[in-house]
Symmetry: C2
Subunit: 410 residues, 2 copies
Amino acid sequence: MMRTAADIRRMNSFAVVRAIHANGGASRRELVDITGLSFATVAAICTKLLELGVIAEVARKRAPAGRPTATLSLNPEHGFLLGVDIAETYVHVEAFDAALEPISSTQYDIDTHERSPDQVVERVKSAIAAERARHQGRALLGVGVSAPGQVDQVGGTSVFAPNWDWHDVPLRDMLADSVDAPLFLDNPLKSLAIAEMWAHPERRGQDFVVLNLGTGVGAGIAIGGRVVRGRMNSAGEWGHMVIVADGRACRCGSRGCVEAYVGAPGILQTLREAYPDSPLLHGDDQTATIAALAAAADDGDPAALDVIERTSHYLGIATASIVNLLNPDIVLLGSWVAELLGKHLLDRARTHLQAHALAVPMAAVAFELQHPRGNSVSLGSATFALEGYLDSVPDGTTDPETTPRRRTVG
Amino acid sequence: MMRTAADIRRMNSFAVVRAIHANGGASRRELVDITGLSFATVAAICTKLLELGVIAEVARKRAPAGRPTATLSLNPEHGFLLGVDIAETYVHVEAFDAALEPISSTQYDIDTHERSPDQVVERVKSAIAAERARHQGRALLGVGVSAPGQVDQVGGTSVFAPNWDWHDVPLRDMLADSVDAPLFLDNPLKSLAIAEMWAHPERRGQDFVVLNLGTGVGAGIAIGGRVVRGRMNSAGEWGHMVIVADGRACRCGSRGCVEAYVGAPGILQTLREAYPDSPLLHGDDQTATIAALAAAADDGDPAALDVIERTSHYLGIATASIVNLLNPDIVLLGSWVAELLGKHLLDRARTHLQAHALAVPMAAVAFELQHPRGNSVSLGSATFALEGYLDSVPDGTTDPETTPRRRTVG
């Protein structure tokens, strides 16, 4: 889609908020330097954000020559956001202040036999209520919710969650009566990408990929400063790219998908096939088994290292495919499997990536672990809510600048 | 990369030229409706284009009530462009008028033992000279050149052409003395994408992929109205995504790549492995063998149909990977293998695509043969030259509109 003038205004507001956030406060003049926007645009946006209380003047200092300049900061007292990560194995609800700093969180496990929409929604409502109760008296600016699988973010529907066999579940409507604030639904891939973009302003000038390594696997992709959504918001299904034609059955119905090898159940399958009596196996408990695998690898256990090497092989091949196709600046490994196993997977997978990527894109790409503050999917979901909140607020600029005049720094 | 104000101006000029071209002429008022730009912006761009002679007033009619309105058309007499397609097996130089209509072309084969940079450049120079001679007296506005493999379009260098083992060949400098016009170098993937965008204005609002089926295979990708280039302009290497882990050796040095199965030499290998004595085999002559395969398939030859089915299997899987990853509006099959074999491949590949794509992106995607006018890579290369020419010309708009205010139609 082409950018509209409204898009540009929104992006400029975001750029100012992001710059203030990333720099821990800034003067209007510094914001001009950081964002590349004109002083008039920065000033108009700041005026509106001050009126709303989203930002505050925290200090005023006299420049060596001339008028005193005010330092602007995001106002942590203004209100808070909730970011909800509905994963296959847990529900994580995290509160963030308007500066997107994590404040508190509540997490409940989801049992394998409690996966109906009603059961999961009840869990989410309980966790939201717990976080609401902790922050009584503060304004709830918005709630962002990430649900696994394919999500219609406009209609607020979980179109298809393969692990739960959910079809067309109206999640936003089901949750609406538990929150008195705008609710934004999307999936973890988009949440991871937007979280990365807000946390690292330099990402706006980069093409990047966050590989989501969990029960399901996928890719949050941003190109040219925008999250790639595709026609139906289902872009990013890297987990369902085929790497082994006619290979392992995948829960999507196809065969040989990345997810069948690199998703947590795929890793369990590799372990079970190679070492059926392994003490690392905790039945179908993915979290316990992956954690046991990580602990055993720390101790140099040969079976654990073998399973990690096999997984790295597939991860490296699948990463090479996306590196060759998109030639990105950076590919990050994120989500809970990356948190538990990432340090063992990264260098091994890079070896296989190098063997399968073309020289030019390989030389250009950084391949790293994502280091989020708090739960990155919750952070990304909260970010969507903050974007929605800022979106609801007109700013004083009538003549939107299309973009930073020069590349964003800092 | 973010769009700059200059980007926006350029896009608006392109939008006007495209709209005039696609509609076979239009009034300023119609251009406002088609492009979504303001009347003032359209008028300023038209004034500049008229001064330059890129467009002309071809008719003037009186509206039912009010002032006469002029119909503007691209001016075919203004000058011409050359689009050069350097492929692994031929050099094709095509002349286009400023309305991007093909006028004439010259094609030379490249023998397998004439593949040094000097030898290929001599072929290209001869073909350019032949086309130059045909259009003496007309201004040459620019030359676009597509070279296979990875190209540094800024530096004008063929960074790596795997089939020829070219490394860092300064193609633009080597060709510069044969043309007295700006020369733009890129690769066929970007040429196919830009050709598709200019030929079909509705593509600007779509995410689309043109699969380049030739000796090498790759993907021209456009997202949000822009060609995806990646960090080093090497995006689109779909041919080097792995679909068979540890499968066939690929000329890139990896194994199991799409290209090893779907590229013309891969199809020959499939034929040779299954039917080593097949009369369809014409040694290493890819064009003759693929043409023989197509003719035999027309006659219902079981061996030919079997090879096509095997190729379709891999093509369908590899298309599913890109459909799952990007959720595009449309995937097109283009280039010479698609021209020869496309009608036999398309429906068979669609069956395998359906078996491997997720339901949501599958339902959203159109999967079709590309139907270019003339050689689509030459057209795309010429389009880069036209873009460069328009780029060299300032327009009268000081306050660029960021975008069409509504979706482009027509």
